[in-house]
C-alpha cells in the first residue's frame, strides 16, 4: 500500500509539473491586432493598437487631432477607418461598443499602453461568415505598421478559446502598389453541434488547467473518509460512510457552480472579478485548514455549495466576455457546464485512491503535510490576486 501511495503521489506531482509548464508567449512587436468573433448575425472586432501609433496617425493624417485624443475621438477615428463589407461592397451598420486604454506587456518591447476598441457590425443572417474587412487605421499614415487579423471565436466552427487563434491574414501597406488591400474573410461551414462540443471541451479543460478549482475539490474530498473524534480527524474503516460524504460534497459543489455559472454568464449578477478570484483562493485555504483540524465537520456539503457559487462565478468570467448573442450563449453555457461536470468526474475518479489511502494509519500526517502545502499555495494566490504581489517562481503558471 505504501508503494501504491508513493506512485500516486509521484503521478500527482507530475500532473502539477505539466500544469506549471504550460505558459505561453505571444506577439513580437507592437503591431495592431484585430481579433474577430463570428456570431450568427454579427461580426465583433476587438482591435488592439499601441497608443503611440494612434497618436501619430491621428495627429499627422487628415484627422488632425494633436496630442492625446479622447475616447470619443479614438472611437470616431476607428469608425472611419474600419468597415465590414458584404460581397457587393456595401458597408454593414456598425457600433462602437467600447474604447479602453490598457497597459500591455510584450516580451520584446516591455510595458506599453494600448487602445482596445470593440466594434460590432450587424450582418444579415449567414453573412457573418464571409465578408470583406476594409481596414486602414494607423497604416494609412504609418505604412510600416501592420494589423494581424485573427478569428478568435467562431461558435459554429467550434472555435471558442484558444491560445493560438486562427490566423485570418495580415493587413499591410503594399509598397509595390502603394495600396492597402482589404482582407477577404471566408470562415468554413459550421454547425451548432460543433460549437456545443467545443464549449464542453472548453469547460473540461478550464477545470483541469485551472488548478485552483481542482485543489478546492480535492481538499474537501480528502476528509470524506474521515470522522471527527475529540476535535481531531480519525479514519473510519467503512466505505459507506466515505462514499456518502464523497457524493454529498461533489453534488453540492456541482449545484452551487451550475447556478452561478449561468447567472454570471448572462450577467444576471454583476461582480468584481478580483473579489471572486480572491474568494476562490480563500475557499482553498479554509478547506485546507479544515482538512488539518476539523472546522465544519458534517457540514462540508454546505461549504461546498456556498463556495461552489463562488467557483461558478469564476467559471462564468470566461463566458461573460465571449461576445455571443443569447441563442449561441445558452448553448455555450450548457456545453461549458457539462464539460465542467465531466472534468469534475475525472478529478473525483483520480481522488478515489484517497479513500483507499485513508485506511493506512500513516496517511494522516501525509494528508496534513499536503494540506499545509495546499494552504501555502492558496495564500500565495491570495497575495497575488488581492494585492498584486509577485508569485514565487515555482508557482508561476
Amino acid at each position: 500500500l505504501r508503494a501504491a501511495s508513493s506512485v500516486y503521489a509521484i503521478a500527482f506531482a507530475l500532473i502539477c509539473m505539466v500544469q506549471l509548464s504550460a505558459g505561453a508567449l505571444s506577439h513580437p512587436l507592437p503591431n495592431s491586432v484585430v481579433a474577430l468573433t463570428l456570431d450568427k448575425r454579427r461580426v465583433s472586432m476587438r482591435i488592439e493598437v499601441p497608443v503611440a501609433e494612434v497618436e501619430t496617425a491621428m495627429a499627422a493624417g487628415p484627422d488632425g487631432v494633436g496630442g492625446a485624443p479622447s475616447k470619443a475621438q479614438v472611437g470616431g477615428y476607428f469608425a472611419r477607418h474600419v468597415a465590414i463589407l458584404d460581397a457587393s461592397g456595401a458597408a454593414m451598420p456598425q457600433t462602437i461598443r467600447s474604447v479602453e486604454k490598457v497597459m500591455a506587456t510584450d516580451p520584446e518591447v516591455g510595458k506599453y499602453q494600448e487602445w482596445h476598441i470593440t466594434i460590432e457590425a450587424n450582418t444579415p443572417s449567414g453573412h457573418s461568415r464571409s465578408f470583406i474587412l476594409r481596414y486602414d487605421a494607423i497604416i494609412h499614415q504609418i505604412p510600416t505598421h501592420f494589423a494581424a487579423v485573427t478569428i478568435e471565436r467562431d461558435f459554429s466552427a467550434g472555435l471558442i478559446e484558444s491560445e493560438t487563434p486562427m490566423q485570418a491574414g495580415v493587413i499591410k501597406f503594399d509598397f509595390a502598389s502603394a495600396k492597402i488591400e482589404p482582407l477577404v474573410i471566408i470562415a468554413g461551414q459550421g454547425s451548432l453541434r460543433t460549437g456545443f462540443r467545443a464549449m464542453a471541451a472548453l469547460g473540461y479543460f478550464h477545470v483541469l488547467h485551472g488548478i485552483d478549482h481542482i485543489l478546492f475539490l480535492l481538499t474537501l474530498l480528502a476528509v470524506a473518509p474521515l470522522a471527527m473524534r475529540n476535535g481531531r480527524w480519525m479514519p473510519v474503516h467503512c466505505y459507506g460512510h466515505a462514499l456518502r460524504r464523497f457524493l454529498a460534497i461533489s453534488l453540492a459543489f456541482t449545484a452551487g457552480h451550475s447556478i452561478s455559472l449561468a447567472a454570471g454568464a448572462f450577467e444576471v449578477v454583476r461582480f468584481n472579478g478580483m473579489f471572486v478570484e480572491v474568494s476562490v483562493a480563500v475557499s482553498i485555504v479554509l478547506a485546507a485548514i479544515h482538512a488539518i483540524r476539523p472546522l465544519f465537520f458534517g457540514r462540508e456539503w454546505m461549504v461546498a455549495a456556498a463556495f461552489g457559487l463562488v467557483h461558478g462565478l469564476a467559471f462564468s468570467q470566461s463566458l461573460a466576455g465571449i461576445g455571443f448573442g443569447w441563442q449561441d450563449k445558452s448553448v455555450a453555457v450548457l456545453g461549458f457546464n457539462l464539460g465542467v461536470e465531466a472534468a469534475q468526474i475525472t478529478v473525483m475518479a483520480a481522488a478515489l485512491p484517497l479513500l483507499a489511502l485513508s485506511r493506512a494509519n500513516r496517511f494522516q500526517p501525509m494528508r496534513q503535510a499536503a494540506m499545509v502545502l495546499v494552504a501555502m499555495v492558496a495564500c500565495h494566490w491570495i497575495g497575488e490576486r488581492a494585492f498584486g504581489l509577485p508569485l514565487p517562481q515555482w508557482l508561476l503558471v
Binding site: A13, L14, L20, S21, H140, T144, A176, P365, Q368, Q393
Partner: protein, 423 residues
C-alpha cells in the same frame, strides 16, 4: 529533521541543508512569502519525519527533490528555447589574432585570397563543423537574415562564431577582412563595433534574447572557387552581410543590414564604439543642405517607424520613386548624396566598392532622395530613403528596444544585384 527555525532572516543554514537534498527552493520575492514558505516546508517535513521515520522521509524527499529539479529544468528549457549553438559568450572580435591566417594566404588577393582562406579554414575544422558551414548555394538560404537577435529570428543558417576555436576564428575574421573594407567605422571595423554592441547589451540588458558576439552566424553558400556562384553569409542581431561571387567576380554586395543599439558612443571590449555615427552624419548633412523648396519636395507625407525593405521583404520596392530627384539638385548637394551612399558601399573591399560607386554615380541623376520626420535624422521616426535605378538605402531612427535612447535600422539593397541578381 530541520529544527523549527522558521525565521528567514537567519535561514542560511536551512537553505544550505535543503539544497543538499536537491530541492529546488522557491525564489522568495518578499518576506511574508519567505516566512510562509519556510515554516510550511519545515512543518511538513517534521510531520513526515515523525510518521515515516528518518530513512523513509529522506528517501521520499530525495525522490521528490529530483522530480522537482527535473521538472524545473524541463520548464526552464521550454521557456528559453534558444538552440544550443548560441553560446551567449563574448568572443571579443577585435582581439582575434589573424596573423596565422594572413601568413597562410599572403600570395593571394581579392577573390583568390577568399578561396585560399576558406580552404584553409576547412582544413582546421572537424568534418562535422565543416558540414555545417559549407552549404549548397541557395537563394532561399540567402534570404534567411534578420535584424532580430536569435530569440526573434531562428532561421539563420550555418554555425555561430561560438562554435569555432580562436585559431579558426582568425580565419573567419580574415575572410571578412578580405571581403569587406578596412576603413575606420566601415567594413570590418563597423562589424566589430556592432558585435561589441551585442556584448554590451548582454551585460546591460540581458533578457534571454541571445545578445552576444558569439551568436553571429557564418556560412558559405556554395563552394568558393574560380568557377561557379557562392555567397559569403554572415549575420546576426543588427547585421547582415551578403557578398555573392560568380566565377571569381563580385556580383552582389546586398542585402546589407546595419543597425546598432546603443547608437551613441559606448565603451566595450577595450575600445570606444560608435559604428553608425558617420552614416547618420552623412544623411543629416545631405538633408540640412536642402533648401526649403527642395526639402518640401523630398518630404514624405507618411510616418515610417521602420525600414520597408527589411528582412524577408525582398520585393517591397515601391513602383514609383518618391521625393526629390538628385539630378535636380546642384552638384555640391549631389556630392552629399554620393557621400551618404558611400557610407554603405564602402563597407565592401575597395576595388569592388569602386566599381559599385561608379555605377551608382552614373545613375545619380535618376536617384531620388526622400525623408520623413526631422532633417536631424536623430529623433524617433526620422526616416530617410535613397532610391535609384539600382541603389536603395533606407535608414530609420527608432526607440531603443533594450535600453533607453534611439537606435537606427538601415539597409542597403540593389534593385538589380541583391543576392547577386539571383533573387
Amino acid at each position: 529533521l530541520f529544527g523549527n527555525d522558521s525565521d528567514c532572516g537567519a535561514s542560511i543554514t536551512q537553505k544550505a541543508r535543503l539544497t543538499i537534498l536537491n530541492l529546488k527552493l522557491p525564489v522568495v520575492s518578499n518576506k511574508w512569502q519567505c516566512g510562509a514558505s519556510a515554516s510550511g516546508i519545515i512543518w511538513g517535513l517534521n510531520s513526515m519525519t515523525k510518521s515515516l521515520g528518518r530513512n523513509h522521509a529522506a528517501i521520499g524527499l530525495l525522490a521528490a527533490g529530483l522530480l522537482a529539479g527535473g521538472g524545473y529544468y524541463f520548464y526552464i528549457s521550454q521557456l528559453q528555447g534558444i538552440a544550443a549553438n548560441y553560446t551567449d559568450s563574448n568572443i571579443n572580435f577585435g582581439a582575434i589574432d589573424t596573423a596565422a591566417a594572413d601568413a597562410a594566404c599572403t600570395a593571394a588577393a581579392g577573390h583568390e585570397k577568399l578561396v585560399c582562406l576558406t580552404g584553409g579554414l576547412k582544413k582546421l575544422v572537424t568534418p562535422e563543423l565543416a558540414a555545417k558551414f559549407e552549404l549548397a548555394y541557395s537563394v532561399e538560404d540567402a534570404r534567411k537574415w534578420s535584424n532580430f537577435p536569435p530569440v526573434g529570428y531562428r532561421d539563420r543558417v550555418g554555425p555561430t562564431l561560438g562554435e569555432f576555436t580562436l585559431e579558426q576564428l582568425g580565419y573567419i575574421k580574415t575572410i571578412l577582412k578580405t571581403a569587406a573594407s578596412d576603413l575606420a567605422n566601415e567594413g570590418v571595423d563597423e562589424l566589430e563595433q556592432i558585435l561589441n554592441a551585442d556584448d554590451y547589451l548582454k551585460v546591460k540588458a540581458d533578457d534571454g534574447a541571445g545578445f552576444s558576439s558569439s551568436n553571429y552566424h557564418f556560412a558559405l553558400l556554395g563552394k568558393p572557387a574560380t568557377a561557379g556562384t557562392w555567397q559569403l553569409y554572415f549575420g546576426g542581431h543588427h547585421f547582415a552581410f551578403a557578398n555573392t561571387y560568380t566565377d571569381g567576380k563580385l556580383t552582389g554586395a546586398s542585402p546589407s543590414f546595419r543597425g546598432v543599439e546603443p547608437f551613441t558612443k559606448f565603451s566595450q571590449n577595450g575600445r570606444d564604439n560608435e559604428p553608425m555615427a558617420q552614416e547618420q552624419a552623412a544623411f543629416a548633412a545631405m538633408l540640412k543642405s536642402l533648401s526649403t523648396e527642395e526639402a518640401a519636395k523630398a518630404k514624405l507625407a507618411q510616418t515610417y517607424t521602420n525600414i520597408i525593405a527589411g528582412p524577408q521583404q525582398d520585393n517591397a520596392f515601391p513602383s514609383t520613386r518618391e521625393g526629390i530627384r538628385a539630378g535636380d539638385l546642384p552638384s555640391e548637394k549631389q556630392a552629399l548624396v554620393l557621400a551618404a551612399i558611400e557610407t554603405y558601399v564602402r563597407d565592401i573591399a575597395t576595388t569592388d566598392a569602386d566599381a559599385i560607386m561608379a555605377r551608382y554615380t552614373g545613375e545619380l541623376a535618376e536617384t531620388f532622395l526622400a525623408f520623413s520626420g526631422t532633417a536631424g535624422v536623430n529623433a524617433e521616426n526620422d526616416y530617410i530613403r535613397i532610391d535609384g535605378p539600382s541603389v536603395w538605402i533606407e535608414f530609420s531612427m527608432q526607440p531603443g528596444r533594450s535600453i533607453p535612447g534611439m537606435h537606427p535600422h538601415s539597409v542597403w539593397r540593389d534593385r538589380t544585384s541583391d543576392y547577386g541578381g539571383n533573387s
